[in-house]
Amino acid sequence: MTQPNSIEEQLDRQAPAVFIMPAVLIVLFFSIFPLIVSLFVALSRLKFVKGGIQAKFIGTLNFKKLLFGSQQYHFLGKFDQLTLFGYCLIGIFLMIVIFWLYKYLRSGHSSIAGTIGRLVVATGMFFLTLLTIINLTTPKGLPGTLVVTLIYVILGVIIQYIIGLGLAMLCVQNIKGRNFFRMVFFIPMMITPVGIAYLFRMLTDMTKGPFAPIIMWLGMEESSWAVIPWGARIAVMIGDAWQWIPFMFIVLLAGLESLSTEQKEAAVMDGAGKWQIFRDITWPTLLPVSVTIILIRLIEAFKIIDLPNVMTNGGPGIATESLSLHSYFNWRTMDLSGSAAVGYLLMVVAVFICLSFVNIVKNRVEIAQR
């Protein structure tokens, strides 16, 4: 056997490693390693000195500042005494949670691990709900970046899903031009969010935008959505929805198209109404796909930064500032540790909500499908 041949053979024996190692190493180096470094950064105070960075280990001080200290208003928002309405909402929430746990414990297939997991989820959800209610329903309460992000994620994804589903249901009927609609609806998804932010700023300009005559006719040309907290938040959410409804639409349409018509016809023969067909045939088929796309959107929605940054710059005040934007603002003022701390808290919340969703909703749907 000649020498070059043996080198080739050597190489071939190493092929499994050669194929997968580049990807594994890059992912390791650019997400696992940074994740660990980020934790250290968040636990220390960084200073830029000549020729490098000086780090001083200070423990959980950065997190304490965000949760209880001088940055609390920014991260958690402002608190106030709960109103009667707030107490009612919390009561309703607690009742739902207790009923849910009770049902699980009585279901017969409960386990200790499952119970503990559900208790953890219930506790986390309780604190997030409590925070949201305190921030939003009390007279002096103001939402911080955490609750603003939750509004974007939860409210935004629900709205996008409902509109996307409605459009897909309309489009799946036997009407002409389905492909045309599919292509047109697809366009917004491909546009960069920064571009969308400017598009919407142009469109909502009160005096020079295309809807100025309507606004003038309503007599609102002196007001602006940008100075009202909820106006600005809704504007950001509309931009996000404009981009992501197409995604919901396309996936749900594909799901609806895979539905067989025979089942439907049989149901009509049996005298089923439209609502019954939707509830008993369409909805169960769509459920797995729906859960998956909602999960994908939940994951992506937590990362929202470009729309609020460009449309409103986080304003008025901090009304539209998402957690990613909060982290970026901290970084811009050279507070690297504060930035990393916010990023870590964002990750904890995002992973908590996504994992809860997977464990509570997705797995249950998948078991039910089997």
Partner: protein
């Protein structure tokens, strides 16, 4: 009454009645208008002179205002605007990083389908332990990072070839695939600060390699996930025959597998290209001036010049037209790529 019956009568289960069909068309038409109108408006605005914009809304060129190339001329001819540099930066960075991502990602995707890996849990745990320990030592005691990296890798290699053989528990290919895709849950702001510090230490901030490798790292999980599904659908017989004839794995991969996976490759490439083209957050942290990309440039125009809608429209068009063209021609492929993740989930 007869008329009402006529328009509400369903012709078949799939076919809506005239009334329902009409209403559906109206709703879908309104939504199509909502999708298209912003883009129409930005195109129209780019042909307006500043005074036209300031006078209020005008909708149709030649009919209620006289279009001009003023803004286009300014963006392309004026040196001070310096638009073309971010544009070419974006083109170069997204093309190169999409190509590299595709290559590395499809290799890994192929390997996950055809080769069985059994990474030992104990080795992974030991690796993470070493990583955390090394980072801690560097941050807390200011150890030289080169010394730490070399000694840690030496210890790790020693461990792999000696102690780790005693442990049997291992993971499979699906675990590796899931681990890759789970990287998407990490918010980029968590990982971008260490990457920023890292490149700053190397003096590589604001350079092409730094931008490209970061983009590659962020997009690899998607490519691996998508290409894995495409490779699943390729029949294994051809490869087995080639292997019997004595072809190496590399030859099989380059001459048989890649040509067969062309549709999947092109769709994934386009998807990654669009993701890189639109990337905002990473560029915001890592690029300064030399490698600034278009999204950053658009975002910063606001603060420096105020809302000069006519110039911004031109730049937004430059930004979105390539993507829309790709999307129009390849939307079937891209949709298929999107559905792979969602439908199989």
């Amino acid at each position: 009454m007869k008329f009402f019956k006529l328009i509400t009568k369903r012709r078949s289960i799939e076919e809506p009645s005239i009334l329902e069909g009409g209403l559906s068309y109206i709703v879908l038409g309104v939504w199509a208008f909502i999708c298209i109108f912003p883009i129409y408006w930005v195109i129209v605005t780019s042909f307006k002179e500043p005074y036209v914009v300031n006078q209020g809304p005008f909708y149709i060129p030649f009919w209620d205002f006289q279009p001009s190339l003023h803004a286009w001329d300014f963006v392309f001819m004026q040196e001070s605007m310096n638009t073309l540099r971010p544009f070419f930066n974006t083109v170069i960075i997204s093309l190169i990083s999409a190509l590299i991502t595709l290559l590395i990602g499809s290799m890994a995707g192929y390997a996950l389908v055809r080769i069985h890996y059994r990474p030992k849990i104990i080795s992974i745990a030991f690796f993470i332990l070493l990583l955390a320990l090394g980072t801690f030592l560097i941050v807390k005691f200011g150890l030289d990072w080169r010394v730490t990296v070399i000694s840690a890798s030496a210890i790790f290699l020693l461990f792999i070839f000696t102690l780790s053989r005693r442990f049997k528990a291992s993971l499979g290919n699906n675990d590796i695939g899931f681990w890759m895709i789970s990287q998407r849950i990490l918010p980029p702001v968590v990982v971008v600060i260490p990457i920023y510090i890292f490149f700053q230490q190397l003096g590589m901030l604001d350079s092409y390699p730094a931008m490209i490798i970061t983009y590659v790292a962020i997009n690899i999980p998607i490519v691996v996930w998508l290409m894995r599904d495409f490779f699943f659908s390729i029949p294994i017989d051809l490869e087995e025959n080639a292997a019997l004839d004595g072809a190496s794995r590399y030859r099989i991969f380059t001459t048989i597998v890649l040509p067969l996976a062309k549709p999947g490759l092109s769709a994934t490439f386009m998807l990654v290209l669009i993701l890189c083209w639109n990337e905002y957050l990473l560029s915001l942290f890592i690029s300064l001036t030399d490698t600034q990309t278009l999204p950053i440039m658009i975002a910063s125009m606001n603060t420096t010049r105020g809302p000069q809608w006519w110039y911004m429209s031109v730049i937004i068009i430059l930004m979105i037209i390539p993507v829309i063209l790709i999307a129009m021609f390849l939307y079937r492929f891209i949709i298929r790529g999107l559905l792979v993740g969602a439908i199989k989930g």
